[in-house]
């Protein structure tokens, strides 16, 4: 059985078809589900094995990218999503989906001590790019986390586009970033095309993210959020240099990883 993937369509989602195409190629059975159908009970999170929050401009980025969608997630679906996550099912938030995961506290997924309750006002955020504007360009990212079920054992670096204005991953001053390293939560980092660390250098690190962070996962490793769009590099002809002989689809492996994991649940 192909795992069923719920692709959440919020008000302003626009890379839902891109994500569906990637999941189909990776062997899943994706379904675009309007947020209103989940609210009305016409559809249920529990009927799916994977959850995808695709890119877009939910609520036009009003009051901060992903913020109002995060409020929706925490108002209407807090239990459903917590159950989904605790069950260990794969969850991925891309771009606007990542922003919503972070602003709802689903990532980095801290828990209050001795409690199952999620910390909503986490000390991390995705803020305005250091260049001060939206940017669309191809980047190279390195899979780091071996805890994250999406990036574990990926042998190849991923090239894919970014397309965002608020992808600058930052933490509050007192936030102990070391816990990220300890818990293997840094899933993906921006690197130069030759494989060396971007080290904050623009445009390899396109937005100024601390430690070149392009994506993080929760401590359990089943929830991944990332700013770049691996779903836009699943065919060789999407690569900017395919006419020069480049023949990759390096974004696909990440989705295959997630689908394989969901199939074995």
């Amino acid at each position: 059985m192909k795992p069923k993937a719920l692709i959440l369509q919020a008000h302003g989602t626009n890379r839902d078809y891109d994500a569906a195409e990637a999941l189909t190629l990776a062997g899943a059975d994706p379904e675009g589900v309007p947020l209103n159908h989940l609210r009305s009970g016409k559809k249920h999170f529990g009927d799916y094995q994977m959850l995808v929050l695709p890119g877009g401009f939910s609520y036009a980025d009003a009051l901060g990218a992903g913020k109002l969608l995060a409020i929706d997630l925490n108002t209407y679906f807090v239990n459903e999503i917590d159950q989904f996550v605790s069950a260990g099912k794969p969850v991925i938030g891309i771009c606007n989906g990542f922003q919503a995961l972070v602003k709802s506290g689903i990532l980095p997924g801290e828990r209050l001590e001795n409690s199952k309750q999620r910390v909503v006002h986490s000390a991390v955020t995705l803020t305005f790019n250091s260049q001060g504007h939206f940017e669309c360009r191809w980047v190279t990212i390195m899979p780091v986390s071996q805890k994250c079920i999406w990036t574990k054992n990926l042998s190849e670096n991923i090239t894919c586009p970014i397309a965002h204005g608020e992808g600058n991953f930052q933490t509050a001053e007192l936030f102990p970033l070391s816990s990220f390293f300890k818990q293997d939560q840094i899933a993906l980092t921006y690197i130069h095309t030759d494989g060396s660390p971007a080290d904050g250098e623009y445009p390899a690190n396109p937005n100024g993210s601390v430690f070149d962070i392009a994506g993080i996962c929760n401590p359990q490793g089943n929830v991944l959020g990332l700013m770049p769009h691996p779903e836009n590099h699943i065919h060789p002809f999407q690569h900017p240099n395919w006419t020069r002989g480049a023949n990759h689809h390096s974004g696909l492996a990440l989705f295959q990883n997630g689908v394989k994991y969901a199939s074995n649940l």
Partner: protein, 950 residues
């Protein structure tokens, strides 16, 4: 009820502030030392201190990077440090403010039910050097007027602003009766002018005869309906006019004579719809069809660049929705005044070209990115003629399974409006766009500016594509210029409709019936829906957060009837409304063209490398990467050939290639354009020919099949009542016709924007250069056959294909050297279509490693761009070209491309080009140097010149 004022600021770094500072310096505010930008929110309601704190924390700030302060109004003014000033800006009441709407909605969602109304604004803290107290406020005001606010949509104060909530108003059913029957000719013209109807005497008299025939006067709503329907914008009066030429000839409709006739004569079986729908449609792959439409939004962009361009994009996307297609790509071609003019050089009332450009680009970015359509092709041109009249061409491509678009409302169908609510926005936009602007235009036509809401339009896409597949409607059109009057008027022209305006959802109360009927509020579509399908459509709308309103019925009475609360406010005969406009009779003078071969003697001591570097950094030629990269050109995952290409992704592609989701196999489309105002200034006929050629050649360069290319025309001209202006328009249209026939490229859609003139306070008219945009779309059955323009491998041969006939007339060489200005502009050679076919054959046979067209800057610029793309060199052998070197290098020609061939393929390639013009012109080298004759330039230097920021 209390009003609270929240100020939100970044605790460390705010990227917006740096941008405002550099913009201010560029505009000449050199004594501005610092600018800090903060967000303002005004919230009205009953809220406890704890709730206010929670609102700030949970809704209004990002707690990691921002902090907020708040106070109940009236509050004591903030303490200011010496040398600083505050400017606060807020939207005028009634201007669309989606953030305010979201604040109320989300506050309620979070449980703060006491929030009643909201408004937003911005606060700027300015630090100014060397200012005396008396000039301080003046400087702050000036900065506000020139950079921080636009009076058309904003209020501002130096100091702290009071929130501007809309005043509650009584609904109004007021109808004014306009007496027409007994007016004299002068009075008729005065009426047209007073109501900004832009109708001439013959048209006013036709209205008068109708009144006399019906034995009554008109209501304001009726008069406005006629004015909109008969406007240049909606009615294309000039293109349909009878034109008497100075050589005695007469043309009965430019549109029929030159444009439609070409399409008819070519009679391509793959053209599925030309000139009848909101967008032209061609076959893609036998199962799917693609549509293409390009619109202009010039006048709105001149007075409010962001909103004008924003709604230009939104409008053309709705044109594609109006043929039931899913939008898959956007294009934008922009023309601005030189960016370095000083304020005293600007005509009064004109925004600075820098501000126009940054606003327009931001408007295109905002709409395209948010709605999720890749912006894949465009151009940016600069000319003094565009200072007072910027041009904004917005294009959109769509896809649908073949044959699903329907066009016939049935008697008894409901008139259904989908999407945004109706306000005063954009009143009289169609007539506004048909007039010459002056310094007052901004104020008087302030209401003509609309602000877009791309997320609402995204909802329309989601609903309409599904409703189409479920066959829930019989006809569909978009609300553009003229609002309902035009959309419902056109849709019911063959059947009639009865509308109740009270059903329309308003943004705010107080609109007169004619205002509701004419409003150009954005993001609205009108559908004809059988009564039994309304419920299913409603369900779709609920799912995608889209508003549905039933405003009336298609009747079968052949009259357009509009009511307010039951009372009839419009009752017009369809025949009169749509066919009653008298044909305009115009006069045109065609100037003699500059004679061929009137070449100036060549100056021998040109520094050729310097000229090449100057050309590469000329604003028209230099890289547009800083604009291209802020548009999302990757969303939807189908951008196969991207706008920038090559090793470093910094070289300009000739065209973009899209492989849309849903296309059969590897089918796709290539999209490009041609535009050349420099040629337009000299010879409109040849210009038209040259830009059709360029639009076609760009597509052929990337691998599109030259026998499957369709084109679109967009004419932007000055006042057609000026006979010379009209003469050049006629000549350009004739050029379009002849070129379309030569290349066998049918026109599938077109649009004209005339009266692009500005009357300065000095009484001088500022007109644009004649500007014809040809947009082109070509089908590819296999997108993996596409070719890019970057050099691929050292050792390959470089050929020049096509009839090489460079001249300096209208060239960028003559722009940068000020020489050879009087020569004729390039002509087209009849052999060119065969060259393109041969090239296509070679591309299909995989013989071409790279190809690039020769355009502005000629052979040298084309070669330099190919070097930049591949970071490889070229050794050019000009001795095979029997011309003087500067002319070969920098003269401009039509019909030519440079192509790169691997040594193993030379024989096969030359065979295909047997009997066609072909010059072996150089070799690709690994040393990253472009060599021509005794001169050589490092490719790194070329790249630096081409990329101004690097």
């Amino acid at each position: 009820m209390s009003i609270y004022r929240f100020v939100v600021h970044f605790t460390n770094f705010d990227p917006r502030s740096a941008r405002y500072l550099s913009d201010a310096h560029a505009l000449g505010f050199h004594n501005l030392q610092r600018i800090k930008c903060q967000d303002l929110y005004f919230i009205e309601g009953q809220l406890s201190q704890k709730e206010l704190q929670q609102l700030a924390l949970k809704l209004l700030t990002d707690p990691v990077t921002q902090s907020a302060s708040w106070a109940e109004l009236p509050a004591p003014p903030s303490a200011l440090e010496p040398g600083t000033a505050i400017v606060e800006v807020s939207l005028r009441p009634g201007v669309t403010d989606p953030v305010a709407h979201e604040i109320i909605r989300a506050a309620h969602e979070l449980g703060f039910g006491g929030v009643r109304r909201a408004a937003t604004g911005q606060r700027f803290l300015l630090t100014l050097d060397n200012e005396s107290a008396s000039t301080f406020i003046d400087s702050a005001n000036k900065l506000a007027a020139q950079l921080l606010a636009n009076p058309v949509i904003h209020c501002w104060v130096v100091g702290e602003i009071a929130p501007s909530f809309l005043q509650e108003m009584e609904s109004s059913g007021a109808v004014e009766i306009i007496s027409i029957c007994n007016l004299t000719d002068e009075e008729l013209l005065a009426l047209s002018k007073d109501r900004r109807a832009a109708l001439d005497l013959a048209e006013m008299k036709a209205i008068q005869s109708y009144c006399v025939k019906e034995n009554r006067e008109l209501t304001d709503a009726e008069f406005e309906t006629i004015a909109q329907t008969w406007s240049e914008h909606c009615g294309h009066k000039t293109f349909k006019a009878k034109i008497e030429l100075n050589d005695g000839r007469e043309i009965n409709s430019i549109l029929k004579t030159y444009l439609k006739s070409a399409t008819d004569e070519i009679n391509a079986p793959w053209v599925l719809s030309a000139f009848v729908d909101n967008a032209g449609i061609i076959d893609l792959d036998g199962e799917n069809e693609v549509s293409f439409k390009v619109e202009t939004h010039n006048h709105p962009s001149a007075i409010e660049p962001f909103g004008g361009a924003n709604t230009g994009v939104g409008g053309v996307i709705r044109d594609v929705l109006g043929v039931s297609h899913k939008p898959i790509a956007n294009t934008d071609i922009l023309c601005f005044g030189p960016q370095n003019v000083t304020f005293d050089q600007l005509p009064q009332g004109v925004l600075h070209p820098r501000r126009v450009m940054s606003g327009v680009v931001a408007g295109v970015q905002d709409y395209g990115n948010k709605i999720g359509i890749p912006t894949v092709n465009g151009a940016i041109l600069f000319d003094e003629g565009y200072t007072a009249n910027p041009l904004v061409f917005c294009g959109c491509v769509g896809i649908a399974p073949k044959g699903l678009h329907v066009r016939s409302p049935q008697k008894g169908d409901r008139v259904i409006v989908l999407g945004g609510q109706t306000g005063r926005d954009g009143l009289r936009g169609a007539t506004f766009s048909s007039m010459t602007m002056d310094a007052q235009t901004g104020e008087v036509a302030g209401a003509s500016v609309q602000i877009g809401d791309p997320i609402t339009e995204k909802g329309l896409i989601d609903v309409i594509v599904r409703a189409r597949d479920l066959k829930l409607y019989h006809a569909i059109t978009d609300c553009g210029a003229g609002g309902f009057s035009s959309a419902i008027g056109e849709m019911s022209s063959a059947i009639g409709a009865d509308i109740e305006l009270q059903n329309v959802h308003l943004k705010y109360a107080g609109l007169a019936p004619w205002e509701i009927w004419l409003s150009e509020a954005q993001e609205r579509m009108v559908l004809a829906v059988a009564p039994e399908h309304v419920a299913a459509l409603q369900e779709l709308c609920d799912t995608y957060d889209t508003q549905l309103t039933d405003v009336g019925e298609f009747t079968g009475t052949h009259r357009l009837v509009v009511r307010y609360a039951g009372k009839v406010v419009v009752d017009l005969e369809n025949d009169f409304l749509h066919d009653g406009i008298p044909q305009r009779q115009l006069k045109a003078v065609i100037r003699d063209r500059v004679i061929d071969n009137q070449e100036d003697p060549l100056i021998s001591n040109y520094q050729l490398p310097n000229i090449l570097l100057q050309l590469l950094s000329h604003p028209n030629i230099a890289s547009k990467a800083s604009v291209i990269r802020i548009y999302d050109h990757e969303v939807q995952g189908g951008t196969v050939i991207k706008p920038l290409t090559g090793v470093e992704a910094d070289a300009p592609s000739d065209a973009s290639v899209i492989h849309p989701l849903g296309a059969k196999g590897l089918a796709g489309v290539a999209i490009a354009n041609g535009v050349n105002p420099e040629y337009g200034k000299r010879d409109a006929y040849r210009m038209a020919f040259a830009v059709v050629d360029e639009a076609v050649r760009n597509l052929v360069a990337v691998g599109a099949d030259p026998e499957r290319i369709a084109i679109l025309d967009n004419f932007c001209w000055g006042d057609p009542l000026c006979p010379e202006t009209l003469g050049s328009l006629v000549e350009a249209a004739r050029g379009c016709h002849d070129a379309a026939l030569l290349y066998r490229t049918p026109f599938i859609s077109g649009k004209d924007s005339l009266n692009n003139e500005y009357m300065g306070a000095d009484g001088q008219r500022h007109a644009i250069p004649p500007t014809l945009l040809i947009s082109s779309i070509g089908v590819m059955q296999d997108i993996t056959e596409a070719v890019t323009m970057d050099l691929k491998e050292a050792g390959n041969e470089l050929y020049l294909v096509g009839k090489f006939a460079p001249t300096f007339g209208g060239s960028h060489f003559s722009l940068v050297t000020s020489q050879h200005k009087n020569e004729s502009v390039p002509d087209v050679n009849r052999i060119t279509p065969q060259v393109y076919k041969a090239l296509h054959q070679a591309i299909k046979a995989k013989l071409i490693r790279s190809s690039h067209d020769l355009s502005e800057g000629g052979l040298a610029v084309a070669a330099a761009e190919m070097c930049i793309g591949g970071r490889l060199g070229i050794d050019l052998t000009l001795d095979r070209v029997p011309l003087q070197t500067p002319l070969s290098l920098f003269g401009e020609t039509t019909g030519c491309l440079l192509v790169e061939i691997a040594p193993a393929n030379i024989a096969a390639f030359e065979l295909i080009f047997k009997d066609l013009p072909l010059i072996k012109i150089g070799q690709v080298t690994s040393d990253s140097i472009l060599k021509f004759g005794d001169d050589a330039i490092l490719v790194g230097s070329l790249a630096n010149a081409f990329n101004p920021s690097s």
